[in-house]
Symmetry: C2
Subunit: 240 residues, 2 copies
């Protein structure tokens, strides 16, 4: 099991021939992939990621029972049921529901990864479940940071480092400098991720727009024991 | 003076509108930009960077006094006067000479940066001179890591972190997470850069092909007091 880290979608072309038949983990800590974990952990049946706002609206017109969630540039989209705060997806609102999510960065990374045999999604909330699930499959892993408008960001890179570190303890092999750098950053940050990230560009942008509790909600570790996988066009929890 | 770090040429499109009229530092520690420092420090008049082997050969045919240097995939090009080892460019061979250099990664990064007002080149060998020169200009700085075939590498990233750290002590402002990550890596590595890099992909590749002394030659600090700048198509030393 070899590990690669893709620090931004802008770097994906270097890897596009390599992900065929391998595992990809999509990382968008603030907040898309974190929110998907909360949705499915709180009882949603499935979450369909789409790239465009129009596509989400169209799906809702065809099936009014769908709940649609998403942000553009960090703000809830007009006419959607939810924005993209993990705190919105409470059990009373999502249990038994089918959701659609559209985000700026995460959906783009996912759409690039469709040749992979396994596309995993998650964050700090379900890191152990993800690591166990990927190790059980055993195929090479590409840690794909969604970044921010193509730019590398610290929170996704840190999480890639945390996952890489955990997978190496299960025998995975580091193959590139991006993974090495991510692990060094994680080793520096792990005792106080919140403080470490307080200087990060996106985190500062985020804090100016959202409640501090939202950031904390994205950095909690292992509140969920479910891995999330993309199958037949939707994200579902394993075990369901 | 705002600082940005471009971790690979693959990420350059995100910055291409921004470098106009600003300062760019081209970083290709193993070994192109390091070798250029040695050439000019040992008395070469100028170094002309070109992207292709054919172009270098053509220049030499037109002017047989030119000395041509370069590597492709880490090896000296057939028919060239030099490869790309900083140890080749001794004063007896380069003093008073005009050189041409072609490299895999460094020249590509330079050719992308032509809109900048100042294009600087260098490495650990002339880090203080570069920092002083860029601070004296005072314009925003883009630290442009040449990387390895588009991939992020540790040695260029570390050097970007070292320069960024030094410039912040002269009042420069960090603007992005790539710069923050590079500084954290540099802070970890600075007491023993050689050991820190011994796990890096390109360094391992490098060590399998070249003398250990070549790596050491690329990691020495401040053996040169000259900054290097690209002017009228050639790299020259300041002060000359």
């Amino acid at each position: 099991m070899r590990l690669h880290t893709i620090l931004s979608p802008q770097l994906f072309p270097l890897f596009s021939d390599d992900v065929l038949g391998k595992q990809v983990l999509i990382i968008d800590i603030l907040r898309a992939t974190t929110s998907v974990v909360v949705m499915l952990d709180n009882g949603a049946i499935s979450v369909q990621p789409v790239s465009g706002v129009g596509e989400a609206m169209e799906l809702k017109r065809e099936n009014p029972n769908l709940l649609i969630a998403g942000e553009r540039n960090g703000y809830k989209v007009e006419g959607f049921d939810f924005g993209n705060s993990p705190q919105e997806f409470t059990p009373d609102r999502v249990s038994g529901a089918s959701l659609v999510i559209t985000t700026t960065n995460g959906t783009q990374a996912l759409s690039l990864s469709l040749e992979a045999s396994h596309i995993w999604v998650g964050g700090f909330l379900n890191i152990n479940a993800l690591v166990e699930a990927m190790a059980a499959v055993g195929e090479d892993v590409f840690l794909f940071c969604a970044g921010w408008k193509g730019h590398v960001n610290l929170e996704d890179t840190l999480f890639a480092g945390a996952v890489a570190k955990a997978l190496t303890s299960k025998g995975a092999e580091i193959t590139d400098d991006a993974t090495r750098a991510a692990i060094v950053l994680w080793e520096q940050a792990k005792y106080d991720v919140h403080s470490f990230l307080s200087v990060a560009s996106h985190v500062k942008r985020f804090q100016s727009m959202h409640a501090e509790s939202d950031l904390e909600a994205c950095l909690r570790m292992n509140t969920s024991e479910k891995a999330i996988i993309y199958q037949n066009g939707v994200l579902v929890a394993i075990p369901s």
